[in-house]
């Protein structure tokens, strides 16, 4: 498989404190990489750094060789799409919200309409197309946010705990829908979560970040079978089993 994202020697400091220090991390084409860790571990910082929304002290973040092409940050970000924990919809209709990123790229009106309709349908919210975004439930709003991200046909999708604010039934339904869409579209994805069940369900590989450091990366089965150290073991809730062996 081709490597589409390569991170080397990345150091991010916030208020003089090192919050992320990653030697090497790669993401392959079409892969879903789940990044797990407790709150404050540096997972979201990693996502913001990948999206060039945060300036690292040093390091290379190369997407499809983009660091060598001299792209501006905006040009670089137009390869990807970001979904945050809160849907952060604009004060307008559902249709216009889904069209936001397409309008940023100044796509022809007909293509924008067609793509918006397609993704409203894919996420089962076509009946909400004219509804003001402020009148949506949490689950509906997050579906709009996902439709908005997918309509851009991103080469890299960045998901920052998109289900954490949802109730359990909505979360389960949306997780299933997202899984289907990701499989169908073969979109390369970095999925941030602190929920190990979600990570195992969606992620083909899992990266464990603890205290700003990448402790282990592998398939969920590999990591559960062979946690690299006590900290990973403790995070996975396997502390008892580890200490016996």
């Amino acid at each position: 498989m081709t490597i589409v994202l390569e991170i080397r020697d990345l150091l991010v400091r916030l208020d003089q404190k090192i919050v992320l220090d990653i030697d090497a991390l790669t993401v392959e084409n079409g892969e879903i990489l789940a990044v797990v860790g407790p709150n404050g571990a540096g997972k979201s910082t990693l996502l913001l750094a990948v999206a060039h929304l945060l300036k690292p002290v040093h390091g290379v973040i190369s997407f499809d060789g983009s660091h060598a092409c001299g792209e501006t940050d905006t040009q670089y970000r137009r390869h990807l799409s970001l979904v945050l924990q809160e849907p952060l919809l604009l004060d307008t209709s559902v249709f216009d919200n889904v069209a936001t990123g397409l309008r940023f790229r100044q796509l022809p009106r007909a293509e924008t309409k067609q793509r918006v309709e397609t993704w409203l349908k894919r996420f089962g919210i076509e009946h909400l197309r004219n509804r003001p975004a402020c009148k949506l439930s949490g689950g509906e709003a997050q579906r709009v946010s996902l439709a908005r991200a997918f309509s851009l046909q991103p080469e890299l999708l960045l998901l920052d705990e998109p289900f954490s604010a949802l109730d359990s039934p909505s979360r389960t339904r949306l997780l299933e829908d997202l899984k289907t869409v990701l499989t169908e579209t073969n979109t390369t994805t970095i999925f941030i979560t602190h929920d190990l069940k979600e990570a195992s369900s969606l992620g083909e590989r899992m990266a464990v970040i603890l205290n700003g450091k990448l402790h282990q990366i592998g398939t969920p089965d590999e990591i559960y079978a062979n946690p690299k150290d006590d900290e990973v073991r403790a995070f996975l809730g396997l502390a008892g089993k580890g200490s016996d062996s």
Binding site: L53, T74, R77, S81, L82, L88, G101
Partner: protein, 223 residues
Amino acid sequence: MDFIRTIFSDPEIWQITLLSLKLSGVGTLLSLLIGLPLGTLLAYGKFPGRSIFMSIVNAGMGLPPVVVGLAVAMLLWRSGPLGSLRLIYTPSAIVIAQTVIAAPVVTGLTSAALQQLNPRLRLQLLGLGASQTQVILHMWWESRLPLLAALMAGFGSVISEVGASMMVGGNIRYQTRVLTTAIVLETSKGQFDVAIALSALLLAVTFLINLTLTWIQQRGAKQ
């Protein structure tokens, strides 16, 4: 009810009213052109002296018009630094003074309005591929209701001021006489009927403009 007859019988009153609206309208628009970008810079910019700049703007929101009048008069006075422009006692001088009065109001309220938005919205828009200009335009759109309030406050501060207009405009008949300066003049002459007529017009004009802007604002809020 003599003042109503006065309003409709004296064409000079309408000339004064139209001039007031024109000068205060231009002053407010100019303050918007200055205040929107400056307020945005204050809300999102990170630069040394930002807090001091913000304090100056906040203090400027309560700037006494006579002090502005004095400063602008000294600048535009024939022997002043901008005296060669020959603007003192012209409508342009009033527009300059009113812009100086309204700009801090619009800047301060714009900054406050933008800071009330979720700070992660900016990240979200950038993460969807927005350019910096597109981000700013969307942030303004999201803040359109409080920004309309800033516009109303800016207009209110200039249509009702008298000190600066008097000092830099000179209250010259048919040239720089506006509603507020005319009210002062007529009151000092003991012509209360005319003063009341002018005051009624000033109140009506201010009310109608604010009513229109409020209607637009509330319609937006309902939508």
